[in-house]
């Protein structure tokens, strides 16, 4: 019985994450359409796109082109198992937040390797922008995570979620400054405006995905769905107390995601140096203040 429950705990989160991710992309396009006063595609449109992409004969430039993408998607799938998803966390006691931080490196690394094999200068520019913006938000992201780990005195994310039960959410405790900083860098983590210069269709012909077609693009979309899920799930786990079952978790994720979509609809796209300059100023200052506040309280 325990084995069956354990297997369930391992198989169910990635499947649910995929469905929720695809639903989020569709919801994103629908909300943007409604904000633009038009009807927009049906919410399951990304799913239809995936079906079409799997039936298209893509082009490949070499073996590393496929392997890099497979590695990146595998890394994202593994990452889902480390994040508590409404009470289910299969690998919660294998290293905690530090391992999560490091497995998050697989995804851009895989896409960077695969894109490098594509040998298109647009891809190289896209990847260099992606890494530069990652450096931009990582400073603030690390400060926020360190504040949390110092406040709760643990590196395991399951402990942090359990310490926030009964509505002692971290967002309403002395950690609110870190929560605000995390909200400010959440668009950069998800890759949406104002920080979506990475996949700018008009400037660099969609950056790292310039040479993807067919099943490569399908895997990239699945990766995009997973990365949306992971970005928002981390925020909900760390600051909004996770959820005791997947349904409450999903509700909180929808609220955060709709908020983020509204930000995407309003802002223009910042250039790379403008984005990095912003990310190194205000979110870093606020998260630094949050860290100092926690240090003084302890």
């Amino acid at each position: 019985m325990i084995i069956v429950a354990k297997i369930f705990e391992i198989i169910l989160p990635p499947i649910l994450a995929f469905i929720i991710g695809i639903f989020f992309i569709g919801l994103f396009r629908k909300i943007m359409a409604r904000i633009h006063w038009r009807y927009g595609p049906p919410i399951i449109q990304p799913f239809l796109d995936l079906i079409k992409l799997f039936h298209q004969k893509g082009f490949s430039h070499g073996p590393l082109f496929d392997l890099g993408l497979i590695l990146s998607l595998a890394g994202s799938m593994v990452l889902i198992l480390f994040i508590p998803f409404g009470g289910m966390c299969a690998l919660g006691n294998s290293g905690g937040l530090l391992v999560i931080l490091y497995i998050m490196l697989f995804a851009p690394l895989g896409i960077a390797l695969s894109g490098g094999e594509g040998a298109n200068p647009n891809i190289s520019i896209g990847i260099s922008r992606k890494l530069i913006i990652a450096l931009g938000y990582e400073v603030s992201f690390l400060l926020v995570l360190l504040t949390l780990m110092t406040y709760y005195k643990t590196i395991s994310i399951v402990d942090i979620v359990n310490a926030q039960s009964n509505f002692h959410w971290a967002l309403f405790s002395p950690l609110f400054l870190s929560g605000i900083a995390y909200l400010m860098i959440l668009p950069a983590i998800l890759g949406i405006r104002p920080f979506d210069v990475v996949g700018a269709p008009q400037e660099i012909s969609s950056g790292p995905t310039a040479e993807y077609g067919g099943r490569f693009l399908a895997l990239f979309h699945i990766w995009h769905a997973f990365s949306l899920f992971i970005g928002i799930a981390l925020f909900v786990d760390l600051f909004l107390g996770g959820g005791s079952n997947p349904v409450t978790f999903f509700m909180k994720m929808v609220v955060v995601f709709v908020l983020v979509t509204f930000i995407h609809a309003v802002f223009p796209r910042l250039r790379t140096e403008q984005a990095v300059r912003y990310l190194w100023r205000w979110p870093t200052a606020i998260s630094l203040l949050g860290l100092l506040l926690v240090q003084i309280i302890k």
């Binding site: 359409a33 038009r38 239809l48 796109d49 079409k52 799997f54 039936h55 004969k57």
Partner: protein, 186 residues
């Protein structure tokens, strides 16, 4: 529009997928491109049909040739068409690709685009209205359903014919042939 017909999705997912997510490569050929931005923005929303513009031909499966084709543009069109993944659909838009249109006696435009690139369907007009683009899309759906949108298969089978025409008008091509050409001596 049978997008909600679940049984059909299970029976032939490839065809239904290609119908309801046609991604158009955003290639601006001639004066017809002025009709495309209204189609994809709020007034005549193309996204509800699943049609969105994408940046590169590698990600696209619909090619809209909007307007007159000069010889210089023909080179880019052939390149872009060959870089699209199969299956792919082409639509000629406006009367200039059909028979030369307004520029029927110019030295620099292509009069019959069908000799160089296989075309699935034409939209007549000097500039057709955005509603005509939607009628074309729904017509393309019917063709895909019946299996009659076979321009890319025709390109592969009759590649020798197309390549000869391309070389004649462009006076030599820098890139190698896309499919191997067997020289038949009989």
């Amino acid at each position: 529009m049978d997008r909600k017909d679940i049984k059909k999705w299970f029976k032939e997912p490839g065809k239904m997928g290609h119908k309801y997510s046609l991604w158009a490569v955003y290639f601006c050929t001639g004066c017809g491109i002025i009709e495309v931005p209204p189609v994809i923005t709020s007034r005549w929303d193309a996204e509800r049909f699943g049609v969105i513009p994408v940046a590169t031909p590698r990600q696209a499966n619909l090619f809209l040739i909007t307007g007159y084709v000069s010889v210089k543009t023909l080179k880019a069109i052939i390149r872009t068409y060959e870089q699209m993944p199969e299956p792919k659909y082409t639509v000629g838009f406006g009367s200039c690709p059909i028979n030369g249109g307004m520029y029927w006696d110019s030295y620099n435009t292509i009069k019959h685009l069908d000799k160089y690139i296989p075309i699935d369907g034409w939209i007549a007009g000097c500039m057709p209205r955005p509603e005509a683009i939607f009628i074309a899309v729904t017509h393309l759906w019917t063709l895909i359903d019946k299996g009659m949108a076979t321009a890319h298969i025709k390109y592969r089978e009759k590649y020798k014919y197309y390549r000869e025409n391309q070389e004649k008008v462009l006076k030599g091509l820098d890139w190698p042939p896309l499919y191997p050409i067997e020289d038949s001596n009989d």
